[in-house]
Amino acid sequence: MAADRWIALGFLVLSLVYGWAAWNYPILPFEQNNPFKPNTLPMGLAVAGALLSLIILLGGRGDAAADTKGAQGLTLARLMNYAWGEALGLILAMIAYALLLRPLGFLLATVLFLGGSAVILGERRWHLLVPVVVIGAGSIWYLVDEVLGIFLRPWPWFLAG
């Protein structure tokens, strides 16, 4: 089964779960007689979503096989040549950044993220990496916090007053 059908299957399941949630949505007593309830549109969407995914899932070669090349240039054929390890590493680095941003403060977390992801990508020129990352993080903090006036806590928790 082609990738787009698997995704259509996923959307079918999603539409059914969403439709189930909409069907069971608690309607308040005074909303009972309204022609338009909080779940009116959602139920319609669930039906539309389920029908459209079924068309892709069961449809002939029409939609699915239209072009295998992928408009954006991402192709399944080249799946093996892709740098999956690096991609996974960077996604994990982003998750780590999300979790550490508040405890470590903006500056430290950003320096670690930028440096860490460059290392994951194979950068080993430390004399270049360290200054670029430190100056980069520092100047972005300065721009956002000082120039634009959007508060970003710079320091870790133990230094915060």
């Binding site: 990738a3 539309a48 939609d63 408009a71 240039g73 950044y97 993220f113 990508l121 634009l148």
Partner: protein, 503 residues
């Protein structure tokens, strides 16, 4: 109307707002040139900054500048290294890159800039004429017609999504509408579908969604495929001479004239946009060219470069017509701009011209300013800006990822937003692999609350769904929407029959 124009002129020509246009164009060109970052991601990254500006006119003026700059930056990388940052500039590389290989990179860049300038200028004039007329029709609309109009807009976006992608685009639109129903809504008393999560109480944040749909998949693609970044270092990025001769200018003049109008008209249609305009412009001009000139197309023809460049800029301007007059975005980029406007408490639509004339006209005038800035300021700087193409991948990617996260985090100060971003970003990348178009998802998401709002009012007025066939205007629009969706299929059914007849 004249009062509004004057107020707009006053707003657009204030020192601060001119500064915003210049800054927007420069930032747009700088980032737009980097491989893998299209206008949508750049605008999404700039939105927290724009919202921070507070004043809707300045914010929109800056974002429009970023948009133009980004498209110009995309053309630059198409010409110099044959790596179009966006689909809209793919046709630019057909003739632009061969010219650069011949050592005429400077000339190609100038033609691109002049053609974009002309396309944008004609587009701005047409917008100036078109938009008020359309607005005056649109004020007559009731919520029932609005609801139907949004259905037409959404189906048109799907219909123009490309061969074999109509159902996928519709599915993505529905998914976007579903995401829009999560969280609190002005219509109802309790938040919906939050799955008990406090962070979803106020719904998904549209900047986060825009980053997840556009910036992250592009960055992940750049990581997955190292050859994408590598092209940047091997290309010929030395630019010598920016001049074009008078004879060359005379040769491209008719092309520019035709394509500015054609491009604008294509851009006005929801969903068609810059990509279609540029490819169609290229094809039309090749057919119109004389035999000896036609042979040059694809080998570095100046006409072949001017056509898509003019058309895509005129189309970008045209795409503002449905946004400003109807409040319906026709493309992913205008959807992001619409989201920014809503965040700034401006409701685009037919009332915009009446309620906030200074915003309406300032945007139109600043588009024109943006084109001038690109021509007189950015073009001479290109040889220096092009050095950015040599930034090594190891440094580029971390910063792109960081900017995407900063866009979602700054202003929210909520790190859960980052986890949502990464999650949605991974899903969006998978969708991209399977060739599901992502702009309809964002457009559905942004139009969702408005659609539901008008739907509910129409239902309350008619006490049921009967308004769909009882009001002639609504019925006509609904039928138009259905035809638009079915149109690509009618073509498909007829094609085999015609082939059979030919045999």
């Amino acid at each position: 109307m004249l009062d509004g124009v004057l107020a707009g002129l006053g707003t657009a020509f204030s020192f601060y707002n001119i500064l915003m246009v210049v800054a927007g164009c420069l930032i747009g060109t700088l980032i737009g040139m980097l491989p893998g970052l299209g206008p949508m991601s750049i605008i999404a990254i700039m939105i927290p900054v724009a919202i921070q500006l507070g004043d809707p006119s300045s914010a929109l003026i800056m974002l429009a500048g970023v948009y133009y700059g980004a498209i110009f930056g995309g053309s630059t990388s198409s010409i110099l290294i044959n790596a179009p940052g966006v689909a809209g500039t793919v046709a630019t590389s057909f003739d632009g890159y061969p010219m650069a290989m011949r050592g005429e990179a400077g000339k190609a860049l100038t033609i691109a800039a002049v053609a974009s300038f002309a396309g944008g200028t004609v587009g701005a004039v047409l917008l100036f004429l078109f938009a008020p007329a359309l607005s005056s029709v649109a004020v007559l609309f009731w919520s029932a017609e609005y609801f139907a109009l949004m259905l037409v807009g959404l189906s048109a976006i799907a219909a123009f999504a490309g061969r074999g992608k109509v159902v996928k685009a519709l599915l993505m639109t529905v998914f976007g509408l579903m995401l829009a129903t999560v969280g609190e809504s002005a219509l109802f008393n309790a938040p919906r579908f939050t799955m008990g999560l406090l962070d979803l109480q106020s719904g998904f944040n549209f900047v986060t969604l825009a980053m997840a749909l556009f910036a992250l998949p592009e960055a992940i693609h750049l990581i997955l495929d190292p050859s994408r970044g590598a092209a940047a270092r091997s290309g010929g990025t030395d630019i010598k001479n920016l001049r074009i001769t008078r004879a060359e200018a005379r040769r491209i003049a008719p092309v520019v004239g035709r394509q500015s109008i054609q491009g604008f008209l294509i851009g006005v249609m929801p969903g068609a946009g810059a990509t279609l305009a540029s490819f169609l412009g290229y094809a039309v001009e090749r057919n119109l060219a004389k035999d000896d000139e036609r042979g040059e197309f694809g080998k570095g023809s100046i006409k072949g470069l001017a056509a898509p460049e003019t058309a895509n800029n005129a189309a970008c301007t045209g795409s503002f017509v449905p946004l400003l007059t109807l409040g319906i975005p026709g493309s992913g980029t205008t959807a992001i701009l619409l989201g920014a406007l809503i965040a700034l408490n401006v409701n685009p639509g037919p009332r915009l011209m009446i309620d906030r004339p200074e915003v309406f006209w300032a945007v139109i005038i600043s588009m024109y300013l943006g084109n001038i800035v690109l021509l007189v300021l950015n073009l001479p700087l290109i040889p220096y800006i092009a050095k950015l193409l040599a930034v090594p991948r190891n440094f580029l990617i971390p910063f792109i990822l960081f900017f995407a996260m900063a866009g979602a985090y700054i202003g929210q100060n909520n790190s859960t937003e980052l986890l949502i971003l990464v999650g949605l970003g991974v899903i969006a990348t998978i969708l991209r692999f399977a060739d599901y178009p992502l702009p309809p998802l964002l457009i559905g998401f942004i139009l969702g609350p408005m659609l539901e709002n008008n739907f509910s009012r129409a239902m309350l007025n008619a006490d049921g769904i009967s308004f769909l066939w009882e009001r002639p205007g609504t019925l006509a629009l609904v039928i138009l929407g259905i035809i638009l969706v079915l149109l690509p299929y009618i073509g498909q059914f007829r094609a085999p029959r015609r082939a059979a007849q030919a045999d």
